[in-house]
Symmetry: C2
Subunit: 434 residues, 2 copies
């Protein structure tokens, strides 16, 4: 039996979707590293009684540890420390030494914000130094301290780790949390799981369903594998979690997927297409350049997401207008006139223009109709044309109609382009049907 954990993300702004939560997913990854089974994430607004209910639910579900994020700020809607203290049966006390340390941090802030109101600062300072008696204090990264709060002796139940909401503060504070004795004791029973990821591109999810049925028929040991599949930015991701004793069963399962999906399985080691493209460009010692219309710079943004990308990204052109396509990427105005800006011919001219303008070995051209407007007869919203050009006339060009709204079409286009680049770099010019 592995130790189990639940996460409580607080904040009406997260519950209502005004802010996307990155803390739940990030903490989930850290729990996995610790060998702790993550069972639930609850998102609750800044309401005291809803937070209490969330804690009570997780305790009744038998988790050993609860991680909370958010609600440690200076405003009145920030009540996490107090709710957790009460839940764990601990009195709230002012920690004078902590108040002093927070005060020093705030003094530094004041120098950066000369117009600041000292009265506001002092009030928030005091509030953030009132903590549950007996809790381990995690030193502030911003201004808010974190807490590790075990249950009081008379109660039992999970230990609660209270972390701040800003992702950078939460992440920097995490090592101190894992070093706390109270947390280590709570997860003492953790076992280590293995996790493996397979990624496929270019088949529907139902094909994987059939492969899993075949795997179950072949091998009764498959019960030792927790397999989940999902669609993600146009790819299928198959993630398997298992205890080390089941590694032979996993190897058999992976072999079956390799056999049945040789054409579309592109990653068995957890690498993403982004990482593979980076590695391929490095190994060729080639640079890449983009000329983007409908994606408006998103592919260049994606290529430069990875640290060290300056080694192989020369740069790019965002050629939203027809004039820019001609002036910057050298697409003949007559060609646009004849076949239209959204065409495989213009995509090819963009790819060539990107190579030439940036002096790169690989050029990518994207032109399409992201919507909601812009459709013309025969050219519906979602139609996107791609071309990737390499040295010696190497080229892959395709046109496809992508589903979804404007944001989906733009995002999915970057995935299609990444896979075309990957194939060109691997010398695979024989594209599958999709």
């Amino acid at each position: 039996m592995s130790a189990r954990a639940g996460i409580v993300v607080t904040g009406t702004e997260v519950l209502s979707g005004r802010v996307a939560d990155g803390n739940g997913p990030w903490l989930s990854g850290r729990l996995r590293e610790l060998g702790v089974d993550h069972a639930f994430t609850l998102i609750v607004g800044d309401r005291r009684e809803d937070m209490e209910r969330a804690l009570a639910f997780l305790a009744s579900s038998g988790v050993d540890v609860i991680l909370t994020s958010g609600g440690l700020g200076p405003t009145a809607d920030d009540v996490t420390a107090e709710v957790v203290g009460q839940f764990q049966g601990r009195e709230m006390v002012l920690d004078n030494a902590l108040e002093g340390r927070i005060g020093e941090i705030l003094d530094r802030y004041m120098r950066r914000w000369p117009g600041l109101d000292r009265e506001a600062i002092r009030a928030s300072n005091r509030k953030q130094a009132i903590v549950p008696a007996g809790a381990t204090i995690l030193e502030p990264v911003g201004t808010a301290p974190g807490l590790v709060v075990p249950p009081s002796d008379s109660r039992g139940g999970p230990t609660v780790v209270v972390l701040p909401g800003p992702p950078r503060e939460l992440q920097e504070m995490w090592p101190a949390a894992t070093a706390a004795e109270a947390l280590r004791a709570a997860i003492a029973s953790a076992t280590t799981y293995e996790q493996r990821t397979l990624r496929l591109y270019g088949i529907p999810e139902s094909e994987i369903a059939e492969t899993m049925r075949a795997a179950e028929a072949n091998s009764p040991g498959l019960e030792g594998l927790e397999v989940t599949t999902c669609l993600r930015r146009g790819e299928i991701e198959v993630v398997t979690r298992f205890e080390p004793a089941a590694s032979a069963e996993y190897a058999a399962f992976e072999e079956l997927v390799r056999e049945r999906h040789a054409d579309t399985l592109f990653s068995t080691d957890g690498s993403t297409v982004d990482e593979q493209v980076a590695e391929l460009l490095r190994s060729h010692a080639w640079t890449i350049a983009t000329a983007e219309s409908c994606t408006g710079g998103m592919l260049a943004g994606r290529l430069t997401d990875l640290a060290g990308s300056s080694e192989y990204v020369a740069g790019g052109l965002v050629v939203y207008s027809n004039e820019a396509k001609t002036a910057l990427a050298g697409v003949p105005a007559a060609l646009i006139e004849r076949v239209g800006a959204v065409s495989t011919e213009v995509a090819e001219a963009l790819a060539d223009g990107a190579r030439a303008a940036l002096g790169a070995e690989v050029g990518v051209g994207i032109t399409g109709i992201a919507g909601p407007g812009g459709a013309t007869p025969g050219k519906p919203v979602g139609l996107v044309c791609f071309s990737v050009a390499g040295p010696d006339g190497a080229r892959l060009t395709r046109s496809t109609r992508l589903p979804g709204g404007r944001a989906d079409v733009r995002d999915r286009s970057t995935t299609v382009a990444m896979h075309l680049v990957r194939r060109l770099l691997r010398g695979e010019f024989d594209l599958p049907a999709t």
Copy 2:
């Protein structure tokens, strides 16, 4: 008393953070439109007992309706329909007519995917047509039907609306769900809330805390306002929710924020800086162009997020290498040599180069060190220089050090740039300290 709702998002890929959940936030917005109070979102893996626990928790919390997303696919880990049917005390039955309709959809798929395995298709078809007796069926958008499942007569409790996981399918299915009689009955007590959003840029959250304390002291009616504040991409968002009877209290609160934060309050009507920049460019009938180094196209991508942006976005240059800065944006190599690529001088040359290369009225230059590598003495990771140039020599230039990791620095840089563009377009050349 308003009707209350909970959301259950299923999927180990979402729980573990491999896929960011967009469905919880989207559904939260729809509940708000219906006047339903959204109390909790639970994220659970593809484990039957955890899903049962999540449903039981929400029922015991007294919600009137539960929305689920995901777990309707063809693979064995997709168990939502069955778990919900059992939870509501309803038998699972094969709906022959539905099986036929799903079959027709799959026939269309097969034409698109010529290599498809018909056996896999048929098996998944049948599984997706087995539904709880008495449920309202929501016609498939992809291949999976949704469901509205009221409790069986003997039980009471919340009505459960079962929706597919892919965001596009879920969103297209939503109107059918809200039209279902069983859902309308469950939320009959819904009241309408007003919601207002204020956005500020350039002050710390503690300043807002002090304003709220002042507001509470001034006006005892503030209890009728549910105010939440959060930091978001470098801005502060203050969202207030209230019943229509409290609108005078809200007006007084907004007036107080206007008085105290005139310099930094940039939106009182819910508009984002992105929308304001779009509107300002339209009203000047100007176009904008970018030359980006460390953000690698992300600002151009952000400017083209909005539909209709082709009216005012001319295009952009992604000038990651020094050679590209010189060749495309005309930054003198000698200048880079003298002051370094990360400098306000180069940012200004980039802004000018973007204007010239794209023939735009407004040019934006960004150059900085996103990290983790690239720092030099006096130029730490996070240092980013910005310049915005307009007609007639109008210009705003600044240099700042942004906190966080590579992704934070890049994302935050686009926010700083958007606010500089906004100020230039409004003719505000007197920048506050931050």
